[in-house]
Symmetry: C2
Subunit: 193 residues, 2 copies
């Protein structure tokens, strides 16, 4: 191995790839796919998404101060890609991709019913960074599809929804489970639990 220098660029991968839904009335509901998204605070629960000013959803989110992050799955891979390439100015992404808006608990923006988890967000701050504006938001509600709740344990098992991620221009399924948080310091007796 030898170290080489790349020009400064976006090399943080894998990243989430989520469908962000927005709008405050059915006639302006839209979807934008975002990989520049992340969790930024635990308490209160907060997230950020970064969106180019020229994107149709940028105007909607700026005006309404709300959006919903919908997790994506293997089954939704094509819709995820398509909603990141097309513009809501030209097409109705819901109709074209057979996605169904569903009512949110805490915001006017709809969730996507076909997504296993919809995270409802209210914008707290917008930071202009350059090509992208970062919307910093608080999570105000979460809708989940109960088919991913394990009836035996009552736990929500996201992996059963077959989530996907985005790495350097490619979409991937999740692979092998490598360990749970804290596994490196667990004693053998605890591991059995």
């Amino acid at each position: 191995m030898a170290n080489i220098s790349f020009k400064p660029g976006n090399m943080l991968y894998p990243l989430p790839v989520v469908m962000v839904s927005c709008g405050d009335a059915p006639e302006n509901y839209n979807i934008i796919t975002v990989a520049w998204a992340g969790t930024i605070c635990s308490t209160p629960p907060m997230v950020s998404i970064s969106v180019r000013k020229e994107r149709h959803s940028h105007g909607i989110i700026s005006r309404t101060g709300e959006f919903v992050i919908n997790l994506t799955t293997e089954e939704l891979t094509r819709a995820t890609d398509w909603c990141g390439v097309k513009s809501g100015r030209d097409v109705n992404k819901w109709q074209e991709m057979n996605l169904t808006p569903c009512e949110s608990f805490t915001v006017k923006a709809p969730g996507i019913a076909e997504s296993p988890v919809s995270i409802e967000c209210k914008v707290k701050q917008v930071i202009e960074l350059g090509s992208h504006d970062m919307f910093i938001a608080e999570v105000t509600g979460v809708r989940a599809d109960d088919r991913y709740i394990d009836p035996a344990t009552g736990a929500f098992e996201l992996e059963n929804a077959k989530p996907i991620c985005y790495s350097h221009g490619k979409y991937y399924s999740l692979g092998r489970l490598l360990g749970k948080f804290g596994f490196s310091v667990k004693k053998k007796s605890e591991k059995k639990k």
Copy 2:
């Protein structure tokens, strides 16, 4: 399926899980594992990491204004978990995990030689959010391990480094390639390329 309401919380997954290295002299070099990390802007390339005030690395990054994001791999899973649980106040994480600091191109903070990619960052802004402070930073340099460059194409193939991600308390390898960005709008003739 039926929709259920969860209390507002951190449900955005999968996420990256990276080892962030920091410090400006060998005696204070440290590593902290972070999943609250993401890309926030393309031009200029910018990232954010969120760190609790009480973490040892919080003080170092606040003082030096620099950090390095090191991508993690299947081989580094145990070190990744361990560096997220232990504190640099108590242990030397480099020694305990057999990790090697390597000189960065643009910052005093070292990279981790065992990582396939080290992203050198300079802090531009710190935002206090609650449990976590968000460090907003510009990418000033990238070190990559040339063994992941495909000799035939010259392209850097991150997947050959076997990257990992973090989803709802668990570490996973990447699984199947599901498509490349833009695949949903490619014509058949283009797909053959």
